[in-house]
Symmetry: D2
């Protein structure tokens, strides 16, 4: 009787081009073709002119190319503010001869190409919702309640794409390319919410995207990249078609200091288990306050608010988990409640 089995590796990185630790895994016997996804924290500013992401992506493309493998989903999140540590998280899956037993499940999918004028609109939400459902099927997860984290890489608008769309008579959601990143992240997150039944698709209009932050998913983590025009979707959850020592759960931080919810989620996971990975989203509270007290993240013209938020929430989570190689990503539109965000926790049971 066979089942699927996931493995999660957390590898330190000495720089955006340091893939030596991953190469060592391959040299040690890890089958390169089993790699489903790489989530990286790189040490750039995590904003527009962050070249550490592209540099890291290129380093991994070269690595996989050298091993004759392509199509691995590579998501680079810039910004290791505070004491966050640059690292790669490697997700693998393989078929093993063992009975299924409810374990960490990983599914992946890609959507069809997103028409440029659908970006940031209801159509993107629906396209992503379909993609999430497909990735759930790939992961062998039926019940949305078994999904704990959905990582999506989504497209953005460029001047050229806008021009082409307009030349074809279409109207885009925004002509501001930076703003298009937030819209795409937001629409993708709402796509997760729809697929998981967190938000009724009938409730979402074009005008809500990037505006009505009371609509959100508790499991979505989305980032926009210039290198694709469809969506790469990775679903992490629990499934009885899988086996092995890994398990996942998630918390929803209500605000940036909500360590309590995180600790409770950790306690729901098996006690005799080793922490394998923490994946979280962070953002400056849009209200300008946390617990009634003013923060200054949104008024700081020297340091972007996303950088403040990663540093601070990184500290909150490091205080809970005792490690610094945490995947804390910024830009959390419709991903968790405003000022809060989802936190996925993956553990490996001791055997």
């Amino acid at each position: 009787m066979s089942s699927l089995r996931a493995h999660v590796y957390r590898i330190p990185a000495d720089g955006p081009d340091d893939v030596a630790g991953v190469e060592a895994l391959f040299a040690g016997g890890l089958a390169v073709k089993n790699v489903v996804a790489v989530l990286g924290k790189t040490e750039g500013n995590g904003c527009v002119n962050d070249f550490s992401r592209g540099y890291a992506t290129r380093s991994f493309e070269d690595l996989f190319h050298r091993h004759g493998v392509d199509g691995v989903s590579t998501v680079m999140s810039g910004g290791t503010e505070g004491a966050l540590s640059p690292h790669w998280t490697i997700f693998t899956r393989e078929t093993v001869e063992a009975p299924g037993e409810r374990a960490l499940a990983i599914g992946a999918s890609r959507t069809p190409v997103l028409p440029t004028h659908h970006l940031g609109r209801r159509q993107q939400v629906l396209l992503v919702a379909d993609g999430v459902r497909m990735a759930m099927r790939d992961a062998g997860i039926d019940d949305p309640a078994d999904v704990h984290f959905v990582q999506i890489k989504c497209p953005l608008l460029t001047s050229r794409r806008i021009s082409e769309a307009e030349a074809a008579g279409a109207t885009v959601a925004t002509r501001d390319t930076l703003k298009s990143m937030g819209l795409s992240r937001g629409a993708s997150a709402l796509g997760v919410a729809v697929a998981l039944g967190e938000v009724d698709e009938a409730e979402i209009a074009d005008a809500d995207i990037g505006i009505r932050f009371d609509l959100f998913s508790n499991c979505a983590s989305t980032s926009a990249g210039v290198e694709l025009i469809d969506h790469e979707i990775i679903v992490l959850g629990m499934s009885s078609q899988w086996s092995g020592p890994f398990a996942i759960d998630h918390a929803v931080m209500e605000n940036a200091i909500d360590a309590h919810s995180v600790r409770r989620a950790r306690e729901r996971l098996p006690e005799n288990s080793r922490l394998a990975a923490v994946l979280a989203k962070a953002e400056p509270d849009p209200s300008g306050k946390i617990g009634g007290k003013r923060h200054t993240m949104l008024d700081d013209s020297d340091i972007s608010g996303t950088r403040h938020a990663r540093a601070f929430v990184g500290g909150v989570l490091a205080g809970v988990f005792g490690i610094t190689d945490l995947y804390v990503s910024g830009g959390a539109e419709h991903q968790g409640p405003p000022g809060g965000g989802p936190v996925a926790i993956i553990v490996e049971k001791e055997t």
Copy 2:
């Protein structure tokens, strides 16, 4: 039978010049003359060109001047990175008709003027040690173990002071004015260590200051300011000559993610008590690693390492205490172990 009684107020600030909350305290009956010290977190960069500190200091000077009071010790620490919230902590003391009963004690002192060529040297250490002993006596604390936090404002070198010293034939510890701030903070912290018996004064040579970080105080918090040429010292501890509901204890974070030590210190304080203030020091781990994992604070040429450290340790502490108006200050030479730092916790018992 009379005793001394301390009170601690934590007041939000809407900006460096917003003293309205403190004025409201005065209007509500707080006697201005009872104010011993103001510790402020202001929202500048906390580095060289942080004008929020001077602006806040001026605002308080004007405030106290309007009330006919002067000589209040005012320590402004710049930098509310992450979700840290700008605020003032007001310390008062008064004599009350009530028996002493072991409570929060506050003492203050000023040292004689520090000769310019003593700054950053053993002589400064000894001068500060004497000042700390004097402040302990003022606080009615005999046992160094009852001291939990010593806040010191110390001088720095300016081009003019250096020139005058050299014209008089003296040699200064450094001609780099920025570096003089670290040396002065470090020597002052070692002065605390000597006064509290944490380090034997015979062990400290000029060359150790700013170098041998294995020598440190677990209770020192020092900051350099251009506006004084002596030292302002505030000692916080427990004394049986005092009364009232306030109590203090402290933790020593071994590194930036050591939430455990902080939680334990909180647990040593009365359970049925309200958090009144948290005072902490933070710094980037000079080893470049925390728990064996690389951090990037010291290699970031866009954001000063002290800013990263405050944001991150602010997050760790906010996760523990559930508030963001924490006094987290950077520049922790000889203040706690390298990469760690002291954390004082003040509570008010419910009555």
Copy 3:
């Protein structure tokens, strides 16, 4: 026969609170009551959280208050990037017994209070246009061609003002307080353009403000401040009702590297004259290019584009004039052509 006479002083500042140089002028005989305006360059970031401006303003308020004078227009522009030097420019006027002879003229005015819902709209344009005409009359300038620089301090929206306006049933131009600064600057600049006949008022609709940057004034320099709800207007130009050695002209930089236009304007002024002050606006070219070559100012998430622009245009102007205490201010909506800006040059003829 009497005339008016202007004087312009350029005074170095050692910090936002250093008014010693101005006090020395007063001590040396300058009548404090003759001071019409202070334009300062302070060393903050020139963006939202720049406390150097407020600190400097307070220092000057205190200074004038000590001398029993109030109502002096004080405009603080933050940001001395590159080698720009913090300094104050002091403008004075007095009546002298001498015939008029075409010289630098200074006029000032304040508009009525701007209703909150007029900000960033056509009504603000018209209100400012009236104010500029009034300041021209005050300066004794009839011909708009004799106006060379109009400095305006205009209001912005705050959360409170927006709430009050909305409570009264009004709709504001934007609920984004930062964006309101740009709208107010832009509408004020268009007000100058209308008053000087550069743009026909019939051509300006609400929707053009902050959008149609082909509409602009070649003489406007506007900045928004939280401390006022009307407009402070200073007009600088030439008038035959004035006398004395000072003269003014202005250039319009077509883009950030247009040193040629600046040199030509300097050459139009008397040769045997000493440079008294240079007042300029700078902004990142919104096209993303200068002379067909890409710049990176608008994509830099570490340094605000306004800071880049001041540093660079500061360099261009310093290369032309050979001094670094230049008033180069950012945020140039409708002030000169997109990516370019007005440059006023004031000289003092040798006598």
Copy 4:
């Protein structure tokens, strides 16, 4: 009769990985093997954590590798502050059948490996001086007065190199890796000065390097890179063994606003010529003043002084030359007078 012929191409870059413009040159017939050197301006911060340099270097290595060429000297200078434009300058040389006629000459050399403990010391100066003489011979330049620019890529200390040197019983010049960059740049610049007879080698002691800035070269431009342990040297000058339309001269800016010297150098070059490239060094004036007026570059804890200097001097030079794709590099120890720096100008005569 044959001679050597240089060509200089200035190619815009859309990002650190955009080598499309250079590929187009190759596709258009430029022989890849003729390329001697690539000097790039990339859009990172130009400081420690600037990944745009490594990313660009990798992109060029891949490009040359695809064309079967290696050993091309690639110098990436980070930082396009202000309106500086990211670009590549490509230097080629080939033998042509034409008589020599005094034209731009390019020579290259590599020194032997620098022993770790020689870095930042007199031995490095002498090693580089030999290398410069070798590159001059390669360029066919006999007279040091014909040398106008010497670009050097020099090594730096890493923790590992320091450990190995110390294990072998050697003492390094500094254990601070960042500081080693400045020392290596400075010693390399002094090596140029010795080779060109600007400074007598007998005058240079270990202790002068990084200290006695009155010793400097007017033609040196050096940058430290982690990827080499020897020196890559490129000499640009005039030689009668070369032919073709390119010519070079250089100015020495006495300080950051010295546009006059630059204009004079331009005037020494043929009038009917097109600007091909400008190569300059810039640094914050270590005196803290320019022309007696304070600058704030060295006190700014938000923006590195090197970034301010590039932005500002970029503006000065753009005002003179009317272009923004200028090679302005920071870190100018012993490269030109303190606060000033060398500026090489290459033109192509119209034919």
